[in-house]
Amino acid sequence: MDATAKPLRIPPEMRIYADQHGIFDLIQAMMKRLLMEKPEDPIEYLIDLLKNNSIEVPRIFVLGPPASGKRTVVKQLCKHLGATRISTESLLREESDLVKEALEYKANQSMLWINLVQQRLSKKDCIKRGWVFEGFPKTREQAFRLQAAGIAPEHVVLLDAPDTVLIERNLGKRIDPVTGDVYHTSFDWPSSEHVEKRLVEADGIWESETVAGLLEYQRNLKGLESTYSTVSRVINADQTSIDVFSQVLTFVLSRHRSVAPHTPRILLHGPPGSGKSLQAALIAQKYNIVNICCGQVLKAVAADETSQGELIKPGLETGQQVPDSTVLKILTERLSRLDCTTRGWVLHGCPRNLEQAEKLNSAGFTPNRVFFLDMPDEVAVERVTFRMTDPVTGQRYHSLYKAAPSQQIQDRLQVNPRDSAESLQRRLDLYRTNLPELQELYSDAIYVNADQDPHAIFELLESHIVNRLPNPLSHRWTPSPSD
């Protein structure tokens, strides 16, 4: 960028709007589709794409060695996300010319498979609802051909378990011939007697066959892993099916990192002593955003000899709460300055209650990441009441965690009257009364356990700030009776 060019001033409303609706990613997805399909009439194509609302549908491959539980995971995913389930058997059961050709050949002709897959995935239900594909592609060659045909998954789940577990599991595999569900003699026995009677031993469950299947899978695994390295995750299949499914679901709902320009607007909320100022300072330093501590902003304004300063000085001195409207006015003025709108901000100490929070939102400063730092009251008391400051150097000490080095320093340490037991209790009570309303307002906030090592908390906060928020399942397509 040319250093002599004037920096581009984008009005803050546009930034907020773009962030809220994900405009960058929408336009990027549209461009991607256009370049992949290259339709003759792009305008008509874009109209269809937007009408179908099919930009963020699930497109998932579930791969894994034999007996890793793919069928179970896929069925649960489809139920949860409303996506279409596809497997190699279901492809062959379709009535079409390509299928007849494939059956005639009876060999694993890759090109035929790819054509079949392409035909199936271009049907209306796959485009609208998304798809979950079980057990395909099996080799790197198939994966490449799929890519060349324009079929790229959003997420690839690689189930993994030690060989011995898999061999043992496979021996107990039973199939219900009517529904195609997979059951197991020890782990997953059907609940009704009806189904129990129908169960048939699956073919290919003896040890030798499982071993052959495993070898085949391992041979192809490296290639598949490297092809899908950016979109895949390995999930341990040696757990209960509920655990496996919950991990798979979190992964599938997460969105990949995007290059959209993003200004962080972070709100840290927690009881006194939860480490808000510390975390805010760490975040502000690492990501070069503005650290706004409400108390300090107010003190700065009070120190200025302005009319506003005169208004709040008595409030600050007596220790009472300054009226909401003045606080909001000062805060919004600080937040609308150029450095905050361009670099982003991390706010702590405010808002304290529902009215302040609502006023902040209506002023146009909705945070895009909200963190609630949870901590039991006893820990807060312990952390705060032993805080002391050295009036000479300004260093802060703590009797338990960071004691003063010498007796001389210890003698002159002073305690902030705000940190005394009674005022702390008052602050805690105030916090607890206001908490439920704020939790309701910020319904998509992230809860963090503040009773941990500060660097662990920092890493957790970082991961939520840098990664995109997970995909809400709000626009699931429900099947109509005609399907």
Binding site: I23, M31, K38, P42, L46, I47, L50, K51
Partner: protein, 133 residues
């Protein structure tokens, strides 16, 4: 060395004026800031489709009163004309890259409101016609 697929993609983008289309759509989105961006985009695209067949009423951010206002800013003393340099700068600011550098009145450096409006409208028409011509 660009592969043939890359060249294909580049040709496709240029032929159908995709980048200009995306630029226009994004500017419309940020200017109007609708509550439901997908529906707004559908409306704009339908309008563009209609304009393509009827050759009129292209969706555009600027209308005639905007052009008159710009002229008014450049000519505060109400002489009735602006210089060639001002004319070029103004059309660049609107975002037009291709316009007639020597319109009527360029030789004696006096561009009237009518010429300015005509050139601006022509340029805006060309930049909004983001489809294969």
């Amino acid at each position: 060395m660009a592969t043939s697929r890359e060249l294909d993609a580049k040709n496709y983008l240029e032929k159908h004026k995709i980048l200009e289309l995306m630029d226009n759509l994004t500017s419309m989105l940020f200017f109007h800031r609708p509550e439901r961006p997908c529906e707004f985009l559908i409306t704009q695209l339908e309008k563009l489709k209609l304009a393509r067949t009827t050759s009129r009423d292209y969706p555009c951010l600027f209308n005639e009163s905007n052009l008159e206002a710009i002229f008014g800013i450049l000519d505060p003393t109400r002489q009735g004309y602006i210089t060639l340099g001002q004319y070029k700068e103004a059309l660049n600011t609107i975002g037009l890259k291709q316009f007639d550098a020597f319109p009527q009145g360029a030789d004696y450096n006096r561009i009237t409101l009518e010429t300015f409006k005509k050139e601006a409208k022509d340029g805006l028409l060309k930049s909004s016609a983001t489809f294969k011509s």
